[in-house]
Every structure is written in structure tokens, then in C-alpha cells.
Symmetry: C2
Subunit: 285 residues, 2 copies
Amino acid sequence: MAVIVPFETPGASIEELVALVAPDMERVNATILSRTGSDVTMIPEVANHLISSGGKRLRPMLTLAMANLAGYTGDGHIKLAASVEFMHTATLLHDDVVDESEMRRGKLSARMLWGNEASVLVGDFLLGQAFRMMVEVGSLRALDILSAAAATIAEGEVMQLAAAKNTATTEDEYLAVIRGKTAELFAAACEVGPVIANRPKAEQTACRSVGMNLGIAFQLVDDVLDYGGKSAKLGKNTGDDSARARSRFLSCSPSAAATTPNARSGSRRSSAARSATATSTTPSA
Amino acid sequence: MAVIVPFETPGASIEELVALVAPDMERVNATILSRTGSDVTMIPEVANHLISSGGKRLRPMLTLAMANLAGYTGDGHIKLAASVEFMHTATLLHDDVVDESEMRRGKLSARMLWGNEASVLVGDFLLGQAFRMMVEVGSLRALDILSAAAATIAEGEVMQLAAAKNTATTEDEYLAVIRGKTAELFAAACEVGPVIANRPKAEQTACRSVGMNLGIAFQLVDDVLDYGGKSAKLGKNTGDDSARARSRFLSCSPSAAATTPNARSGSRRSSAARSATATSTTPSA
């Protein structure tokens, strides 16, 4: 039991998955819109700036697809999918503060428009709303999976903070970071589908595994693109030297640190240092 | 059905409450210690820096007291009390970033020692752990109350951000802010006691009301002390003029803004402006 999404196979695309869950996704979008509502007008402004900025809704799409695959016939997958998107959005709002990011999805980041304070607090609001929706679904097991994911995501991000200061980060450490900060939410998003459908444990584990591996692949690709893009922006030669550095970064050899002049600066603003020390930015999709 | 904690009555003290819940509080402290554990060493370092810095554990104390009052005989109140303290600690870690605070409970704030990034992310970790513990207790109603509180607290804090820029904040708006950012967690902490004891709705509402009113009183007192302390630190005359300004601040008259020269600066770093525009710092206790 598995879903294979072959990003690179010629002719393959994500469109089939998008079409499969399109009717459910409309309901998820309506739920998202209503649950960002608040009398405090800054909350929907900040939340919707990011939520409606063209993310692909990949994580809630996985929840919907897995629930369908598991033969689920109820309504709970809609709120769980919206919860997953809220958890992701909260992470992005907090990440932008942590990374001092100016841009997100091609627009000014929320913190640039409303300040770090609003980014932190609206992220907290969305986390609270995510848990409220999970509670409404009423599956303690789904709540357990998603609350554990919330803690693990933060753990992965803190791990990355430490890794950013350590030029001798190993491949295992890099993988632990991206498993925590990215793949865990993909895994949880997939696992809750068969969970609310009351499918056997083996199927829940299989779906979780699909999500975990997809999440790892997704972050790896994002880091490669991020590295290439940043190098180009920095006006560096993206030829042989850069390719060598990138390949060393992805193999996380300690010596990769020596290939870039800023690698030992420890500054989170230096993309060279960040790449060389196995940090990675969370993709918005 | 009510618990009265007369802060100001001569001879009265919080010691009776402390003694009443002391055996349970030992178990809460052990739970807190074990649940801040992580292989990512920065997490327990940051969390314990704040958690073990001499807070009075007032909120979890209320959960324990209310559960006892309701005749609860299980173990769930321990984890719920620890969850409440984690939610509070997460709020403080995020508040210090929002307010750019340098000190907390007489020590350097976590963000001064480990950076804003660590404060935001360890706060997120603690929120995740709080929800995991609530899930383990297994009461969907308690989960509902505490997750709603998480969203409401953030809402109150965002409301305060907006109020800080508005010199015409009314008394109602000030009360809405402190109800959200402070009193809501007191209310939820009290309400979950009779909830897990399966007591009638009327008793749950009564306990919630005690918590709400205690929380409002608590924040009002804290703001008065904060205002006085900050005035003194600023080297201002704490005599008649200051007393008048304070009284105007607490009555939230729009004209209060005119009593201090910086009141219209809009800077969150100006304590005069912050006080005059009805913002308030979250107390650590």
C-alpha cells in the first residue's frame, strides 16, 4: 500500500493528486478561511497573507488522499487537513522570525509587513486553532500523532540551530534535522488518514512511511534548489566549483565547510555558512 | 463553590494553598522535568532556565486545587497541571521575543542567552509537549478547553499589539486584552479540575469564573506594580503627577496618553508609551 508521486519521471505530475482531492480541498479551503477569522482583525490579515499566497497545500492534500485511500467516509479528514495546514503555516511564520527572512513565496514575509511580534503570535493562534479542530474531530489517536509531530518539528528546528553553529555536521545529523523539521509533518499528515478510517496498524505505519520518505525527498530537493538559487544570487560561479560544494554539502562531509569563505562565521544570515553547515529552509508548498 | 485567595487581607497568604497541593505539586514538578527532556540538549537548557527560575506555579496549583475540590481521585490532574505550566512557559518565551525583554524573573531572559530563535522554537516545543500530555489524560473536554485557551491567549496578545499603537484604548479594550492574555489560562486551569472529575456543568462554570476573575485581578495588580516600578526606574517623580497618570492609565481614559511625553511614539520599547496605551506585561508567577 503506497502512493508514489514521481516528481521527476517525464510526463508525470502532481496534477493527478490535485484532481483526486479537489472537491475535498474546496471544503478544506473554506474551513481554513473560517478558522482564521477573529474579531482581532490583524489575525486574519496576517494569516491570510501567507495562507492565500499560493502554497500548493501539499500536506493537507496528503491527509485527504490517504483518508480516501483508506476508504474513510466521514467528515473528519477535512478538519484534520486544515489543522495540518495551520501547523505548517504556524511553522513558516515562526521560521521567518527565526531566519530573519524578508521574503516568503515571492512576497514580503508577514514579519516585514506586521513585525516579528505579529508573526510569532499569529503562529501561536493558528497552532491553538489547529488543536481545536483536531479536538472537534474527536480522534485521540490523531491528536496524539499531530501533537507529537508539533513537538518533533520544533525539536528538528532547534537541532538545526545547533547544527548551524557546527561545521562538522554529519549526514546522519542533517537527515535527523530534515526528518524532524519537515518529514515528520508529512508523515503525520499521511498517518492520520487511515487512523480516522480505523484501518489496521500496518496500514497506518505504511502511510506514515510514505509521508516520511516523501518529506525527506521534498526537503532534500528544496535544499538543493535553495543552494543553487542562493549561489546564483550571490553572483557566484554556478559551474564546477559550486557543483562540487553542493555535492559535498549534500554528503555533509565536514570538509564541505572549508569550501566557502563564510563557512565558519556562524551567522544565520550567511547562506554559504548555512548551507555548508547543513541547515535548510522550510519550503512553503 | 469558590476559592478565595485574599492577597491583601492582613495575615492572609497563599501559603495555605501551597500547602494544600504540595504533594501533588511534587509530582507535577517531576513531570515537568521529565517532559522538558530531549536529545537536543538546547531544549532542556532553555526550558529549565525559565521553568526553574522561581515561578510560583500559580496556574498548575489552581488545576490541582480545583481537581481536589471536585473530589477527583485519578492521576490526570498532574499531567494537566504540567500542561498548563508548559503553556504558560511557552507564552513567556514568546512574550520575551515580542517585547524584546532582557530580564525575566530577575535573570537574563532566555532570548538574551540563547537568542530569539531558541526562545521561539523551545516555546513551540513546550506547546507540543503540553498537548501530548493532555492527549495522554484522554479527556476531550479538557483538551477542548485548553486548546481554546491557547488560541484565546494569542488573540489577547495580538489585541495588545494593536492597543499599543492606539492611544485611545478604552477600559473595555484593556479588560479584553488582559482577559485574553492572562485570565483565560487561569480560567481554563481552574475549569479542567471539575471537568476531569465529571462534576456537573454548573460547578465547571463556577470554577472557570473563579479563575477568570482571579486572573483579571492578578494582571491588574501586576500592571500597577509594573507601572510603578518602571516609573521609578525611569527616574521619574513617583509623586502626584505619576499617581495621577497611573490612575488615568488604569481607568484607560484616552487622555492618559497625553500625560507622558513619549505616549505617542508607538515604540514598544517606551515603557511610558506602553503603559499609557494600556499594554501590560505577562507576569511570570
